[in-house]
């Protein structure tokens, strides 16, 4: 007997799915099942009509060329995304879509790509590529493990909080030690890995917020995350 059905929407799975972004969707889908819920996975690609009933939104990173392809569509669905974010709908955006959820991305040659302003932050393209294993500390989620690979450097504005503070690696930029961003129930991060498999606390936060918003409460099962703990421990011991 299912405790209920949640609908997960993956943004631009073809254009913005550079490295393991499917892993995040799979983790949400499987953990929902293990918690006793059922899920529906929807995809939104450029040009599609935005679906009516959505409980959780997830988006990934892309090539620079992929970001150009989705640009127009993202601006078209931006009002809807803003409304849902302010209404408390949980969202996870990684790397490329993290940048575009901000105010703008200024590329290395000076071109300004407008973002959709859900997150108060700006990103500047640079020559330096920040690549490697990352560990960040977060009050909400504990230690976060992942892998970054980006040349855009992000500065947070006063309207958002960082997701965490890096203890290894670079995170948002090469100077201020912040990683990712938080606003309402939106979680934004540069970390691949994929992020959610090794960070089940973030996965369950997103599921909890989705369930609470739809059903008024979340009734999780007690899941065994010992493999994730071991994977985190080994990842934490690896070189940058």
């Amino acid at each position: 007997m299912s405790k209920g059905t949640l609908t997960i929407l993956q943004l631009y799975p073809k254009e913005m799915n550079i490295y393991g972004d499917w892993g995040n969707v799979l983790v949400l889908k499987q953990r929902l099942a293990w918690h006793g819920y059922t899920s529906v996975i929807l995809e939104h690609s450029a040009g599609d009509e935005f679906p009516e009933d959505v409980d959780l939104i997830i988006g990934g990173g892309g090539q620079d060329s992929g970001q150009l392809v989705i640009q127009q569509d993202l601006q078209a669905i931006a009002p809807k995304l803003r409304e849902l974010a302010e209404d408390g709908l949980p969202m996870l955006v990684i790397c490329g879509l993290y940048q575009l959820f901000g105010n703008f991305f200024k590329t290395h040659d000076g071109t300004v790509i407008p973002g959709i302003g859900i997150l108060d932050l700006e990103t500047h393209g640079t020559n330096e590529r920040l690549i490697g294993n990352v560990v960040a500390d977060s009050d909400e989620f504990g230690e976060i493990h992942g892998y970054e690979n980006h040349s855009g450097q992000t500065r947070l504005g006063p309207g958002v909080k960082p997701l965490g503070t890096v203890t290894r690696g670079a995170g948002n930029n090469s100077t201020d030690g912040s990683e990712g961003a938080r606003h309402r129930n939106v979680v934004a991060s540069y970390l691949h890995g994929s992020l959610l498999p090794k960070n089940p606390a973030i996965a369950d936060f997103l599921l909890r917020k989705a369930a609470e918003r739809k059903f008024g409460s979340f009734q999780p099962a007690d899941l065994d995350d010992s493999l994730a703990d071991l994977a985190r421990r080994h990842a934490g011991a690896r070189p940058r």
Binding site: G23, L26, E43, N149, K198, A235
Partner: protein
């Protein structure tokens, strides 16, 4: 100067071999003391220089091109260790040149890593190049796959003769538009096989629905059934039984055939070409088959999502014990995200007997999320291999491994069975 650097390089090569050391060190030394060495040794070969690059299949395809050309009577120089950096080529040359730095060969056929190929073609412009594919791999080194495509474009731009391209890979096929004044030869797939080889843009959702390529192909892989394949060349279809395993290797055979045809043109002996192809054995660690305790053991190198997907597709899990060894050393790529771009459902029925390597727990976690049953986890590959062999004595075995895990597993296997030494 010339004889001096050659002698020093040869001496370093001898010493490093005695010590059982890496195959590339002498190449590194000779590159440092005599940067012109490689260009001098390779220029003036009567049939020129073929460069083979791309993400997947370089080693096996290079081996095929070499054997196809040898079958046509050519003396071929190659870097067969899979050391595909320029220093690997220099090291291989040191073993072959005379003390004056001269190479006795008709043609050189060289496998080069994408980034090193760009460096190499500036020193030695190739007469032909074969560009296989651009797939997600080592993004921690190259940043983006579009960036990798730019590297392959530079190889094509320096090529003086025919550029051989995979028409089924949109990024590779697109390279033709950057070298419009060059002769292009394509290899391709029959449309019925398109869905067998999803590219990275088709990871999720509709696979193989892209319109079939309208580019004319010099060689087309028409049909595959097990190890038997048929190729269409000049409107004539030929069936061959191959010793190579795996659909991806068989598609690479089309690439090798197209390249041999580009080199030899109308002189080619078609029957001889297919006779040579039939006898090509897999390259080391690439579907290589060994015998342990009277049962076959296959080593399948996996290093990126596309390769792992095709590996799982090519080698049926039924009836086999399976081990997976995942390392994250520099040569493997440090980012584990790629494991999440591979579907492991095909292992669901038989389960996995052992997961090993530095990132064993990342792999175990990946299998858990695909509901694949896992019997044991042991990060140490030596202990894991022993346990895997001891606990599956009566079964044929298969080990999927990343590059450095493959080297480690092969080293351990050489203590208990016959493993060809590649140096």
């Amino acid at each position: 100067m010339f004889p001096f650097s050659v002698l020093v390089g040869k001496a370093v090569r001898r010493i490093s071999r005695l010590r059982g050391g890496g195959s590339a060190l002498p190449g590194l030394v000779v590159e440092k003391i005599d940067p012109g060495f490689m260009g001098r040794a390779l220029s003036g070969l009567p049939r020129g220089v073929v460069v083979i690059s791309g993400t997947n299949g370089k080693t096996t395809t290079t081996k095929m091109v070499v054997e196809l050309l040898q079958g046509q009577g050519l003396t071929v120089f190659t870097n067969r260790t899979g050391s595909n950096f320029t220093r690997g080529v220099a090291a291989a040359l040191l073993g072959e040149v005379n003390w004056r730095g001269k190479l006795t060969a008709d043609i050189a056929v060289l496998e080069l890593d994408e980034a090193h190929a760009v460096h190499f073609v500036k020193l030695v412009p190739p007469t032909h190049c074969l560009l296989l594919n651009v797939l997600r791999d080592q993004l921690d080194r190259f940043g983006e796959i579009d960036q990798t495509t730019r590297l392959l474009e530079q190889i094509a731009a320096k090529t003086t003769g025919i550029v051989v391209l995979n028409r089924e890979d949109p990024r590779v096929a697109g390279i033709a538009s950057t070298v419009r004044d060059r002769d292009i030869a394509y290899f391709g797939l029959d449309s019925s096989l398109r869905s067998t080889f999803p590219n990275d843009d088709e990871l999720r959702g509709d696979i193989g629905v892209a319109a079939p390529s309208s580019l004319p192909a010099d060689v087309i892989l028409e049909h595959v059934a097990g190890n038997s394949a048929s190729f269409l060349i000049d409107g004539e279809s030929t069936s061959v039984d191959l010793r190579l395993r795996g659909v991806y290797n068989i598609f690479n055979a089309a690439a090798a055939l197209a390249t041999a045809r580009a080199v030899l043109g109308s002189e080619i002996n078609r029957a001889g070409l297919f006779a040579s192809l039939a006898t090509v054995e897999p390259a080391f660690g690439r579907g290589e088959s060994l015998v342990v305790g009277g049962k076959p053991l296959e080593l399948v190198l996996v290093k990126n999502p596309s390769g792992f997907r095709l590996g799982l597709k090519s080698f049926d899990a039924a009836g086999h014990a399976t081990m997976i060894a995942i390392n994250d050393n520099y040569a493997d790529g440090r980012d584990m995200s790629w494991l999440w771009d591979v579907d492991f459902d095909s292992l669901g029925l038989a389960g996995v007997d052992m997961v090993s390597g530095v990132r064993a727990y990342d792999m175990a976690l990946r299998l858990k999320y695909d509901d694949v049953e896992l019997r044991a986890i042991e990060p140490d590959t030596t202990l894991a291999l022993r346990d895997f062999i001891d606990s599956t004595t009566d079964q044929p075995k298969r080990i999927f491994c990343t590059y450095t895990a493959m080297l480690a597993v092969r080293r351990d296997l050489s203590k208990i069975t016959t493993v060809e030494v590649v140096s």
